[in-house]
Symmetry: D2
Subunit: 146 residues, 4 copies
């Protein structure tokens, strides 16, 4: 898989590291390509819904971050990204060793960028698509990240 | 506000208590009415995005659970609820002392139930709508909750 | 119901009259308020799906226009409105003498405006909510309308 | 491109022919494959919005039908298809000689089927993605089509 430029990868990783939620869930970035970012989330009791599967909120959280950073890889310096909206279909019970969310840019733009969101459940060699979505993001003048 | 029947409130609360994610985020149910459930989430570094606001994933997680349980209050015993899909618009930076997600049933149904999702940021007396969404849920034969 | 200013109503009506699709479907504006527009569509064989109900596409078309013009009532002169995206749930078979789509602004903004979309089926005195949706619109510098 | 079985193609075409809206817009089916249906709509003043582009409602109408029939190709006999909901992003001004909507099944199911919706604007050899969406459909016992 193609890697994004080093400077871009650093910018994405640094921003991700400031997302308290991602660390708290136990998520980490596993790939940063131009217009595509992967985020993985291991199975833990802390991310479940009432039947023991991954909670739709956990699935959505990593999908939202993956899409946001996929867009961010294409943004110029000194800009920031915010989610305008997203829609996600939960296709199958989210069970497995871990989830992998893939955010990929469908349509970049100076103001708005549209991403596809896909989440797979991974167990050993097996990969099941468990959620698919679509997201709209906006590029804004950078505000200081804290 | 109208309360749901005691048996319903117990059923919702018991299911909520099995959602590892809600406890891990620090969320709690603050109201269970017939067709309407509120969930609150205090501000903590563990639920933030890169600018220090509530992460869209945290906002979506409590919105998804609030809508799911709003539907569940209208379901018969020995059934369970799963999210089919939801769509959410993030309207404003989610900052405040806490978030309150309100899930309310727009259209109940034997198979599918449609909910409105609203999330407010609360600081002292001030209440700001920071997200609004729509959700489709499906009623299924109960599977044992673990 | 509150009416929008005369100048605004004229601007909305003039733009609506340039929408070839609305005339072709037989739709007309029935109300223009500040941040809220109603569009009505009588039942005709030309707007049906395979069971004789209103087609989801017809329902969506008037919902999209109602939301777009609801946003447009709040825009300054020499700007134009485009739909970024919308999501709609079809809640019940769309049958009746006519449909009424109500677009109303949830959150106005300089760049993006978010609207609620509701569509009712009307037969005599009876009114049934048959679709509900959410829409994101963008304000752009006016391009000449043709 | 793979064709669906003859019996399936006939069933889809017959249902499409009962959709008054599709004929009224001037749309026709150009491909029926297993889990994938294409619908084309030529440019005409009757399907425009206020700037002379294809109206988002026209775009959505053929996208909705394409997705619905894509699902329908996988349904057993004596069943029918209804749209539960869809979400669509309008990516670029919809201008060209004609539109081609492609509905394709992402996840088939006994009750619910999820489709991807894509709409391209075609001018000569040029093809531009102008809309992308996601749709949830439900399989129901057949009701007599009229």
């Amino acid at each position: 898989m193609e890697q994004a430029a080093g400077e871009v990868r650093e910018r994405v990783q640094a921003s991700f590291d400031r997302q308290g939620l991602m660390a708290h869930l136990g998520a980490r970035i596993s790939h940063i390509g131009p217009g595509e970012v992967h985020i993985e989330l291991p199975s833990r009791p802390e991310v479940t819904q009432q039947h023991g599967y991954f909670h739709a909120g956990a699935t959505s959280s990593i999908a939202d971050s993956a899409g946001g950073y996929a867009a961010f890889t294409l943004f110029p310096e000194r800009t920031s990204v915010l989610t305008v909206e997203f829609k996600i279909n939960l296709l199958a019970p989210a069970e497995g060793d871990r989830l992998r969310a893939i955010g990929s840019v469908i349509k970049p733009g100076r103001t708005l960028t549209i991403c596809r969101l896909e989440v797979f459940a991974l167990t050993g060699d097996q990969r099941t698509l468990i959620a698919t979505g679509q997201q709209t993001l906006i590029q804004i003048e950078s505000r200081p990240e804290r």
